[in-house]
């Protein structure tokens, strides 16, 4: 019988500026060398759904870690209160996200059972941040699930600190997996086309999958936007992508 115990817990890590921030981790309880997955939570915060996704990566055989990007603004707060606080302040600055993701990248790689490889993944606003982490942080894979404003200009009067990454795609240092709904508006299919052209132009390794009858947040099982076919296929693509780029080779 396979031993498949998983340990999930909240830990402290060092994020941007060496700040102490909290992170939720989940990892298989065995001595096999494992790759790491950094889960970047969406704008609604470090919530139950994101923690569930983090645990899922542990069951897939990875050391998963989700830094609480709102630790500074709202330590110990309910996730939705923390998200409201962050929104009122204009969202999380990009540099802070990069520092927090780098801190998380150090964390899953440091246990002796790690294989030293790590990928990042994010949904919604976290999708864009996953691409940003793929540019700024030493990761071996980046996964963008319908991140808005990776390319495309935010509307006039846009209050949040979100800057498109068009001019930085050439700096992407990891293969990118992109999963998008064709009924989404942010990112729209045209914006996904634009991102794909930039990736091709810069000769980047990427893999995009686009789903009909799916809009934004098609992975969200507890929202009306959930789309079974897209989500099931999307998870399979994520598994395969991580197996190629992050899982232990030859173990």
């Amino acid at each position: 019988m396979q031993h498949d115990a998983v340990l999930a817990e909240t830990i402290g890590i060092r994020g941007h500026g060496d700040d102490a921030i909290e992170a939720y981790t989940a990892r298989p309880m065995d001595a096999t060398p494992r790759g790491g997955v950094i889960v970047i939570h969406h704008m609604p915060g470090y919530d139950a759904a994101t923690k569930e996704i983090t645990r899922r990566f542990a069951t897939l055989g990875y050391h998963a870690i989700c830094p609480n990007l709102y630790t500074r603004e709202a330590p110990g707060a309910d996730p939705d209160d923390a998200a409201a606080t962050a929104r009122a302040r204009g969202g999380e600055p990009g540099a802070q996200l990069v520092g927090d993701a780098a801190g998380a990248a150090r964390s899953p790689s440091s246990p002796p059972t790690s294989n030293g490889r790590v990928g990042t993944l994010g949904f919604c606003s976290g999708g864009r941040q996953s691409v940003l982490a793929g540019i700024e942080v030493d990761v071996q894979a980046a996964i963008d699930c319908y991140g808005a404003f990776v390319v495309g200009t935010p509307p006039e009067g846009f209050p949040l600190r979100v800057r498109p990454l068009d001019d930085r795609i050439g700096e992407l240092r990891a293969p990118l997996l992109g999963l998008f709904g064709n009924d989404d508006s942010y990112p729209s299919p045209a914006q996904v086309d634009e991102l794909e052209k930039l990736l091709q132009h810069h000769g980047k390794v990427y893999e995009f999958h686009r789903y009909d009858d799916a809009g934004h947040a098609f992975f969200s099982v507890d929202r009306p936007s959930y789309r079974v076919a897209a989500a099931v296929d999307g998870w399979q693509r994520i598994r395969e992508f991580l197996a190629r780029h992050v899982a232990t080779r030859g173990a």
């Binding site: 704008m43 609604p44 919530d47 603004e73 709202a74 707060a77 309910d78 939705d80 209160d81 923390a82 409201a84 606080t85 929104r87 009122a88 302040r89 969202g91 919604c124 606003s125 319908y146 808005a148 935010p154 509307p155 846009f158 209050p159 949040l160 979100v162 989404d184 508006s185 942010y186 809009g215 934004h216 947040a217 929202r223 009306p224 936007s225």
Partner: protein, 85 residues
């Protein structure tokens, strides 16, 4: 859709009742985005906040678009009537 579109309003001489009782309101953020609880993909959300009192000092509502329109009309009528008091 995930527009993050947010309007921010400064509030004065206003109060709200949160989980720990009444508190003075400093700001309101109004945005059309994914709700936490309401059964719809997007709702008009309002957070009445007092940042000085911490993240928990928050009165939150998530309104369907139709409900938000009704509320908007009711506010307009009420504010108009108040001008004649």
């Amino acid at each position: 859709m995930c527009t993050y579109s947010t309007e921010k309003v400064a509030l004065a001489d206003s109060s709200g009742k949160g989980p720990t009782g009444w508190f003075p309101l400093e700001t309101a953020t109004v945005y059309y985005d994914h709700p936490v609880h309401a059964p719809d993909e997007h709702t008009v959300n309002i957070d009445f906040l007092n940042p000085a009192h911490g993240p928990g000092a928050r009165v939150a509502v998530e309104l369907s678009l139709d409900s938000a329109r009704e509320l908007l009309a009711a506010l307009a009528v009420t504010v108009d009537r108040a001008a004649h008091h």
